[in-house]
Symmetry: C2
Amino acid sequence: MKFIKTPVKGMLDMLPSDMRLREHVFSMIKKSYGAYGFMQIETPIVEHIENLTSKQGGDNEKLIFKVMKRGADLQRAIDKGAGEYADNGLRYDLTVPLARYYANNKEHLPTPFKALQMGNVYRADNPQKGRFRQFTQCDIDILGDGSSLAEIELITATAAMLTEIFAEIGITDFTIHLNDRQMLSAVALSAGFKEEEIGSVLISLDKFDKIGLDGIEAELLEGGYDPEVVGRYLSVYRAVEEGVTIEAFCRDISRDVLSEKVIANLSDILECVRPMLAPGVKIVFDPTLVRGMGYYTGPIFEITMDDYNFSIAGGGRYDKMIGKFSGQDVAASGFSIGFERIITILKDHMQGSYKLKNATAFLIDKRVSTARKTEVIARAMELRKEGAVATVLPMAKNVGNQIKLLENEGYDKFEKIYE
Amino acid sequence: MKFIKTPVKGMLDMLPSDMRLREHVFSMIKKSYGAYGFMQIETPIVEHIENLTSKQGGDNEKLIFKVMKRGADLQRAIDKGAGEYADNGLRYDLTVPLARYYANNKEHLPTPFKALQMGNVYRADNPQKGRFRQFTQCDIDILGDGSSLAEIELITATAAMLTEIFAEIGITDFTIHLNDRQMLSAVALSAGFKEEEIGSVLISLDKFDKIGLDGIEAELLEGGYDPEVVGRYLSVYRAVEEGVTIEAFCRDISRDVLSEKVIANLSDILECVRPMLAPGVKIVFDPTLVRGMGYYTGPIFEITMDDYNFSIAGGGRYDKMIGKFSGQDVAASGFSIGFERIITILKDHMQGSYKLKNATAFLIDKRVSTARKTEVIARAMELRKEGAVATVLPMAKNVGNQIKLLENEGYDKFEKIYE
């Protein structure tokens, strides 16, 4: 019999120290978002293959782990030759299941509904450093609120949560970037791009951090776009100065392609969020912020930390997505927190594992009598009642190594019982 | 495009009230076992198909959700015709992954290692009331401890945990049943059964609660066993009186088939555990306790509650199982807690959902100015800092229904902001 002791490729076994850190972060996230009225929900990890392959998931749909049909269904598929062998798949994100969940349970839920999801998702990606085939996502979403209040709550709650978590390692500075999909479209239309070109233009603009405006210009020209349009388009972004206000940025954009409502909505978010932030946290209007996913329809936002070259959280409004699933449009805005990234940053700064505190190990020699053992166990019970960790273990032959491994986990008091 | 809004068959969407209850129980379990030095670990939900089909999982192996190969591997399997399409599967329990985990990570872990696992398992069972295809298991295991200390810690910790959880609904009485696989074998051998008949004799004895000793007798005779042997065998159990001691029960069993060590070990467990139990909790020697799984090798135990006809937790020693996987024997004893059963019992007694406490909803009319909104949001922030739940929502057209649904979740204070 072949027994494989390593986990499945790209998936991890979690050691006790990993779990202590993860559980600590989980509980801070739950507490923080819970105070804002986000309610935890859960969907099954297994989802209908039909829902996973509906073209809403972008490239992630290529990475689905498919779950095979069983019994007679499977036999039928095999007999058919070119049949479909899978009826289910593992979810690749938390957004598709949320859309299904909301369609299924809407009448039992408050409106608007503020959801918190924390759970594993699966992608048959090529494993590489920091990229896994099973990893934890943490999403908050507000469904049924078309107003700026949704973004205000999403952003203030997430800023408060991150402030609290990172305070533990002395990081207090991060930046919230805010933009709007409709603003991005308006700039492109205003420069002379056509509606159907916006998608690919934004794919180029999204590379701003990597290739700069000159790189974007080269790419657009290579793509065959009119040099004059490209020039007009990029001149808008070239003129942007740090700390540009929404009003200043929009001054020259035709109101034919950009409604005052979009501008007012974005200003409203900035004005309401700004006074709620802890010192060190900034919110800025960032006209070059794009966010990859095509399904965003309104405000988009991202949080970056100065010392890391990745965003720690990102999201936006996606008013049309749930309707594409369920046939009924639902206003929706969500923020996805890079849980695994938070863990990476905390580990970087903590120099080692997250340890037990106030933990006693009683190590009992095998000659010890039942009566004496009962005494020791009773003492361990007392310590537990006082809130300490206590364990009663048989003394190992190599007691030095036993103690060393217990110390690694954080045990700091040892009592050896020989008789 | 076909969109399916119900979850996959046999799996559940968790509503906020479900999650509040589950999270509450999770956190009590973690805290309770944590104090005893059980360390939380996690394995991937996806496991190698080879490990899942190794014959250690009994009937559960028939119920595996298989995960399909991908890319070139899948194509090869299809081209072969009768190829194996799956390379992975979803775990059907937490014990097989634990055996793999321990083989993989042993050198980083303390010895003995006290593990706590809480996670979902998957079985393509026929869904029926209270039986699901995705459900949560909660296991504690002690690996590398061959002494009675393992059982003492497993049982006292679990009794303490259940005492604490059920105290909330006023249930204080439950019974811990203790027996030993070697004792069960000894009785059968002593009566004249052959070694290889023990397995099937115990399958009959396991039905004691359902069909009684007469039913077992009928079944064994039907099975073709010697009436004299069957008579001798059952006379031992017929003579058992309530509260029988281990010593009294073993008096007439030949020491050729039952070593004094087994008796002493079992007595030791009883003596050490008994004084640690809360009032209302009993531990009894139960000579008819069998526990289904064939892999048990020593003490077995189960916890029952008087008002329910199922056990709430069960476990035992399985010293040979990990070795069958990894080739190296590891002493092991574990307790599996019926998490979903605990949830069922709590729900029965709580008459409704587990609700939010101290929760305020600010309902904001759309005419409200940005400045006024900022004021309200700041007040919500204050409440959150004081430990309350506060949410800021746009007022719905049907505000009465909005309030009703929020009240369902536990919101108890409402403030309507019109201007």
